[in-house]
């Protein structure tokens, strides 16, 4: 029984880590650009398919893991410069509509190239076996995901809190007008943050590939949990992303195991509860 619980908790942790990588970009983009980038889930999907393509071409998962996020980051940068930059002055409606259109564009392009069926992505040979970890039998790949993800969390924290680039990003999230006034090339930072967020989402997609497979609507469907993570964690907060994704990851996993009839509802209940108690999210800035 305890072993089962532990196994579930590990699954929840793995899912939480994937959500974290996905939501970091989302929360930074929201917090900084005030843009509801609905197409963020699409970068997740593009990452999975880029991974699929690269593995098919090179046979090497690790190469795909390194290159796919870069490719997605480039796409993200291109989108920001061509489509989003003209819209910063125009307010949330236009940005929301445009990014919504992009969801359809990306999803259909992927369907065109790879077809609409689910495509499975092979687990890397190194982690293809299951192991016994603390009494729980779990695919070793999931342990890799957890370790990798937490490692990324630490790396991100170092980047944001301890480097000059991170300070610039934090300043931009806090007050973009001020940052511009202080001589920071805000538009270049915006492009970078966008590309970076997209790349992280793509990374999440590649890593998720062996677990979730690749299918075109996966972008639109992962968006809602990612949004809930951001709402629960608080806009623009890295800590919030981590806390939110770990909570939602566990809630969703245990919900599926214990309350299968209401599993889809669990994360909304969590969100509603957090919002009642703290409308700005766990680590968000107080509203007004």
């Amino acid at each position: 029984m305890l072993a089962d619980l532990f196994a579930q908790a590990l699954n929840g942790l793995a899912y939480g880590v994937l959500l974290f990588l996905l939501s970091v970009g989302l929360t930074l983009i929201f917090g900084m650009l005030d843009v509801v980038n609905l197409a963020h889930g699409s970068y997740y999907m593009l990452g999975a398919y880029a991974g699929l393509g690269l593995i098919a071409a090179t046979g090497n998962f690790w190469l795909a893991l390194a290159l796919a996020p870069l490719a997605v980051g480039v796409i993200g940068a291109a989108v920001e410069r061509t489509c989003l930059r003209p819209l910063y002055r125009r307010g949330p409606l236009d940005q929301v509509l445009l990014t919504f259109g992009l969801i359809y564009v990306f999803e259909d392009l992927v369907k065109w190239i790879w077809g609409g069926r689910i495509r499975s992505i092979p687990t890397p040979d190194l982690f293809s076996a299951s192991v016994n970890f603390g009494g729980a039998v779990i695919p070793s790949y999931r342990l890799f995901v957890i370790v990798f993800g937490l490692g990324m969390a630490v790396a991100l924290w170092l980047l944001i809190e301890r480097t000059r680039l991170g300070a610039i990003i934090r300043a931009g999230v806090y007050d973009s007008e001020m940052s511009a006034g202080m001589g920071i090339n805000v538009s270049r930072v915006f492009t970078f943050v966008f590309a970076f967020g997209a790349a992280l989402a793509g990374l999440s997609g590649v890593i998720a590939g062996p677990i979730q497979s690749a299918y075109p609507p996966m972008g639109a469907s992962i968006l809602v949990p990612a949004l809930i993570v951001v709402v629960v964690g608080g806009l623009g907060s890295l800590k919030g992303s981590l806390a939110g994704s770990l909570i939602i990851g566990q809630a969703e996993t245990f919900g599926k195991a214990w309350l299968p009839g209401a599993s889809m509802l669990i994360i909304y209940v969590v969100m509603a509860f957090v919002l009642l108690v703290r409308p700005q999210g766990l680590f968000g800035r107080a509203l007004k």
Binding site: P92, F100, S263, L287
Partner: protein, 311 residues
Amino acid sequence: MTAPVLARVVALVVLTAVVALFPLAAGTYPVKLLQEILIWGIFAMSLDLLMGFAGMVSFGHSAFFGIGAYTAALLLPKFPGLLAALVAPAAAAALGALVIGFFSIRVGGVYFIMLTLAFSQMFYAVAFQNSFLGAEDGLVGVPRPTVLGMGIGSIGGFHAYLLVIVLACALFLWRVVRSPFGHVLRGIHENEARMQAVGYPVNRYKLTAFVIAGMLAGVAGSLYTQFVGSISPSAFLWTTSGEALLMVIIGGTGTVFGGILGAGAFILLQSLVSSYTERWMLILGLTFVLLVLFAPGGIVGALRGRVGLRA
């Protein structure tokens, strides 16, 4: 009456006559297409009240469409009258809007968009997993109501019924938009902070607009159920809200009838394009992107110039 106003009234009368007499001239498929356009038109118009007039971007409008649809689907088999067909769905949707609006409006901004999206997905989750609501398959076998003792099962009968409701909704919205309340909404859209500063309880006005819009969306949902005879959880999908937003911007935000025009353009485009190619989603998405980048005023906006206001 001034010339431009007279011209508009004449155009409206002509258009209404064409729509009303359409079943006499055209076959079943085009008539059904027109009826679908009218139903989505109500949905889009109600969304425009929020977007174009109050400046609130809601991605959760499909929640109220779904609530109206499911209420009708549950009640009509047992009580096939107007109460179940229109009143109950409208009331249920209004109640849903009151609750969701209360939570979403007080946080405002980007959070409002995200919360409304999440709430509509929540309803999707409930409908998808609840056997009483038909779970994944939804509810089928929904009869059309009897109106004033008459059945409206025939194409002509349903067409007349639908047309009356659409006109009533459009007229209602038209009056609301021109009323003192509508002027307050426009003030909020123009400069919410100043409206607060001069003494308007802005959130209360926004919530009222949200409830009115939700109520009409519920009517649209109910009509859709009556039109098709069934309903499934996909009515709640947030992407449905997104498509309604597209209809509004195609038709032009801040114009009452733009919603119907936008619904027409969207549905016709979809119908046309999908008969030639499978890449319908790609084209729709590109249309979105290009419209937002290059034609923010939409169809009606282009026809009418900017939206002005008189006291």
